[in-house]
Amino acid sequence: MMHLEQLPPWAAIIIALFVVIGATLTLLGGVGLVRLKSFYQRLHAPTLGYSYGTLPIILASMLMFSLTEQRLVVHELMIGMFILITTPITLLMLGRAALRRDRDRKLGHDEIVPPRNRPEPPTEEPAKDA
């Protein structure tokens, strides 16, 4: 734990602030995930942790290792880019899957969802594998 004493005071304060902000937002996202009532509301809760929960922690990590290693450490930006690109894909697919399951009569509803604005394609469409 000697590396914490090497940091200049201004950097230590900034890192502490960023880490606390990021962790608090992520914790709020977790609380929302448990507290909110329906699935589509819960879909919003983890986004807190994905957006401004991740960013301050990544910035704090970059700042800290750049100072302790005495060189520019930017590889945490890779995680940021990766999260930025992949989060929309996962949430979008989850939302679509939930919508499809809610429209399926057999599975039972727990929330009213808007109907398709176009008629369903005939069910006997030729089987095509994705």
Partner: protein, 93 residues
């Protein structure tokens, strides 16, 4: 003095992230429907990734970063596969 503040902040962040992890796990266990469980799993992956980053910072070890990157990649692939299964697996049977 500032090192003490930083140590406290890192400890608080670890506790908060572990709590968030536990809450996401709770949602994954009770989740009334399958999509809730997948959402909880995805949140757990991201929280574990952030926890790895914070642990790496408090240990001063750069190599926790590699673990965080692997967790992020695995979480993405897992969630996409599970969502794809929810979309396809029960609709066309």
């Amino acid at each position: 003095m500032t090192a003490e503040i930083l140590r406290f902040a890192l400890g608080y962040a670890q506790i908060a992230l572990i709590l968030a992890l536990a809450l996401a796990c709770w949602r994954m266990l009770i989740g009334p429907r399958a999509q809730d469980r997948v959402l909880g799993l995805d949140t757990m992956y991201i929280n574990a990734m952030l926890l790895f980053l914070v642990i790496g910072m408090s240990n001063g070890n750069v190599f926790f970063f590699e673990g965080a990157l692997v967790i992020a990649v695995l979480g993405f692939v897992t969630t996409v596969c599970a969502a794809k299964f929810l979309m396809r697996g029960e609709v066309i049977e």
